[in-house]
């Protein structure tokens, strides 16, 4: 597959690893663009940071890692960029921009700085169908679906929480429930 480099540096592309992306040291993040190579979406560093806060609010760190540490925001971007239709991509970008403007008004602070309970309540209202406009609802839906997929299919969850067996070696059709 041919990938357009756009503004991204070759170094960045080299650091993309299968199944996710490495976090780049701050010194590499000078262009203000996203840390994952994207062919279709135009995502700024600020967008990416907001998305990181959003997946963290959706799946927060507890005694186990949350969305941000598991880089679910980068996974969401990767999947939207590669697997979604242009219509979805436009809706995602428009919704992300609308969310970035709307959320601070509702929260009285930036999304990142807001109290976790208030962030959760805001997302729950979107979840319950009370988004102020359609694009935010669509953006939220895509982000949540992909964040859950990324979470359930993350190495951490698959090796520690909901274990995936590559070689089960057995089948029991009458296991005790």
């Amino acid at each position: 597959m041919d990938k357009r480099i756009n503004r991204r540096t070759a170094l960045r592309n080299l650091l993309i690893i299968a199944g996710g992306a490495m976090v780049l040291p701050a010194c590499y993040r000078q262009s203000g663009s996203a840390t994952v190579a994207l062919n279709n979406l135009d995502i700024s560093e600020a967008d990416e940071n907001l998305l990181a806060e959003l997946v963290e609010a959706l799946i927060p760190a507890t005694d186990t890692p949350g969305g941000k540490e598991l880089l679910l925001h980068l996974f969401v971007l990767k999947m939207v960029d590669d697997c979604h239709s242009p219509e979805d991509q436009q809706a995602f970008s428009a919704g992300l921009n609308a969310f970035a403007k709307w959320a601070p008004n509702e929260l009285g602070s930036s999304f990142a700085d807001a109290d976790p309970a208030k962030k959760e309540a805001l997302l729950q209202s979107v979840q319950d169908g009370n988004a102020p406009d359609e694009s935010i609802g669509k953006f939220y839906g895509i982000t949540k679906r992909r964040a859950i997929q990324g979470y359930m299919n993350s190495e951490y969850v698959m090796t520690n929480l909901v274990k995936y067996e590559l070689v089960p070696g057995r089948y029991d059709g009458y296991a005790k429930a």
Partner: protein, 571 residues
């Protein structure tokens, strides 16, 4: 394996040539080499060595860039292959992309192909059932196609022969429509599949649910260990190629076996252009190949040729094998070749819930996939207003329920600690379609492929009977589901395009009469006796069984005959 140097006719001459290395070509190669014939296997795609060339086989889900999803760009460029249930990030390298090998669809037809050593035997669904005389006698009884020139007794020993070597798991169920074979232990039905089996047993004496018979080593025997294969490990990641050799493929089984005889020459990247016919000798003398990489034209020679290029590509090769004697294709004296193509009607599915047996769940994975309902419709006599009948797959699973309606810690808990849901049951229909003259393939008069070989043009569609059969499946399955206490019974038209069943058959059918068929009872071209066709192209009718086991048995049987004829000097 010997490296070929193409510098003399002698070095390009073998005792036998097999075109294709898939499930039937692999069998032809094994049988020919075991009988001492120096055999050249031509494969149009690249080599795939067992284990070594299964790049994704040990990858975890999180190691796939898109978690096994195919990106949009690929889906847009390759709509046909993207409709195949097994085409994902983990297996895409074993499937042909639409853009790489175009064909002409006079009517929509999803042609699913695997151009590599092993062909589709790497990615097949591994379901293996014998035909019975209800199937072989079908055309004669119901007045369609032509009479099969063989009966169950002709092929039964060859079913046994291939089953013992391939390793088929199943139970001796004693169902007349689905003869028992040489089985390794069958896989267990789960609690709800068993429940359904018992309901059928009590209320429908003519209907049976059995554990699906499949080409997996549930209990490997010395013959399988000798192939380097071990017990199936229940990964159900078969489409990636199995490092255990837990399921049968050419790559894991027949080809390495043939190689061990010292009689095999495997030549990948060899696109077959045509079979060479010598009018003076009145028989085929070899195969014209175009090297896929260099585009160099090379002729190979042998006294006997097996055509196992996959059903439709076998048609293409034979149609393209033109000579003064056979201007319309090798053996095609009566314009029959390419016609009477048929497939399996997979256009119906049904699902439901079951609220009972909640004390059980499943643990691990079942390589057989669950249960199988052999054909019971129109079996002993015609009962419906459509011809023939259907078999059905049936499986039950107990899903996990995760409420994703919340966000934050509540959502996370739901994701990590799901609840067990009710059982869900699912079935899909596998219906026999009747071969019609109007369902055909031919060479496109204009379009050529990269190697200047005409593209295949396909005109295959459903018939009215196929739609009636779908309704019958919905009605009968709904009634059985209801009897079993299943709830929320949901029949659904699958509306899939023909071909996506990946059971296309016919075009070079077997029969008694050279005027109405192309192959005799030994899979030998009536009009060119040293050419044998033992893949899906030879099929006179389709029955309801997954066809691969029958291709394997026909291939082994035909090799046995061909080598006997060679020794007698008859070929």
């Amino acid at each position: 394996m010997s490296n070929i140097t193409i510098d003399s006719i002698k070095e390009r001459t073998f005792d036998a040539i097999v075109i294709g290395s898939g499930i039937s070509g692999g069998w032809a190669a094994k049988e020919l080499t075991e009988k001492g014939l120096k055999t050249l296997v031509l494969e149009r795609g690249r080599d795939v060595k067992h284990v070594k060339d299964y790049p994704t086989t040990n990858m975890y889900p999180y190691e796939f860039e898109h978690r096994n999803e195919i990106p949009l760009e690929d889906r847009k460029k390759n709509p046909v292959i993207n409709r195949c249930y097994a085409y994902h990030e983990d297996s895409q390298h074993f499937f042909v992309k639409d853009v790489d090998h175009p064909y002409v669809q006079q009517k929509p037809f999803d042609w699913i192909r695997g151009y590599q050593v092993g062909g589709k035997s790497l990615t097949w669904a591994r379901q293996t059932q014998r035909w019975s005389d209800f199937d072989f006698e079908g055309p004669a009884r119901d007045g369609f196609a032509v009479d099969w020139p063989i009966r169950y007794r002709d092929i039964a020993p060859w079913y046994s022969h291939v089953e013992r070597f391939a390793g088929i798991s199943g139970n001796k169920d004693g169902v007349a429509a689905l003869p028992d074979g040489e089985f390794l232990p069958g896989y267990q039905l789960n609690a709800v599949e068993d429940h359904f089996k018992q309901v059928l047993g009590k209320q429908y004496p003519d209907r049976h649910l059995i554990s699906a018979r499949c080409a997996h080593l549930s209990s490997p025997q010395p013959i399988h260990i000798e192939q380097g294969r071990v017990k199936c490990q229940h990964r159900t990641l078969c489409q990636r190629g199995c490092p255990f050799g837990g399921y049968f493929s050419s790559n894991a089984s027949t080809l390495p076996w043939a190689e061990k005889t010292g009689n095999l020459t495997l030549r990948p990247f060899s696109v077959v252009h045509s079979i060479i016919y010598d009018e003076g000798k009145g028989k085929a003398t070899g195969v014209k190949v175009i090297d896929a990489n260099t585009k160099e034209e090379i002729d190979f020679f042998a006294p006997v040729i097996f055509v196992n290029a996959s059903a439709l590509n076998t048609n293409l090769i034979l149609l393209n094998s033109k000579s003064n004697r056979f201007p319309e294709g090798l053996g095609n004296d009566y314009g029959l070749m390419g016609k009477y193509v048929a497939f399996h009607n997979y256009s119906a599915v049904i699902s439901a819930d079951y609220e009972g047996l909640l004390e059980y769940k499943t643990d691990g994975r079942n390589p057989a996939g669950g249960g199988y309902i052999p054909r019971f419709r129109n079996l002993h006599k015609q009962e419906t207003d459509f011809l023939r009948g259907w078999a059905a797959a049936f499986g039950a699973r107990r899903g996990e329920v995760r409420d994703t309606g919340k966000v934050g810690g509540t959502l996370k808990d739901q994701l990590i600690k799901p609840q067990l849901g009710n059982w869900q049951v699912h079935s899909h229909m596998m219906g026999e379609t009747v071969p019609r003259e109007s369902n055909y393939v031919r060479l496109d008069p204009d379009k050529k492929d990269t190697w200047e070989i005409p593209q295949l043009s396909i005109s295959v569609d459903y018939q009215e009977d196929d739609r009636k059969m779908r309704q019958d499946y919905f009605d009968r399955m709904s009634e059985m589901f209801d009897a079993a206490g299943f709830k929320n019974i949901s029949p659904r038209n699958d509306d899939r395009i023909p071909g996506l069943d990946i059971h296309e058959m016919g075009g070079v059918r077997m029969g008694h009469d050279p005027k109405t068929s192309l192959l005799n009872k030994w899979n030998q071209l009536h009009a060119c006796k040293n050419v044998f066709v033992t893949d899906g192209a030879c099929m006179t009718s389709t029955a309801t069984q997954n066809p691969s086991l029958t291709y394997m048995a026909l291939a082994a049987r035909a090799v046995d005959y061909a080598t006997g004829e060679l020794r007698k000097g008859n070929l």
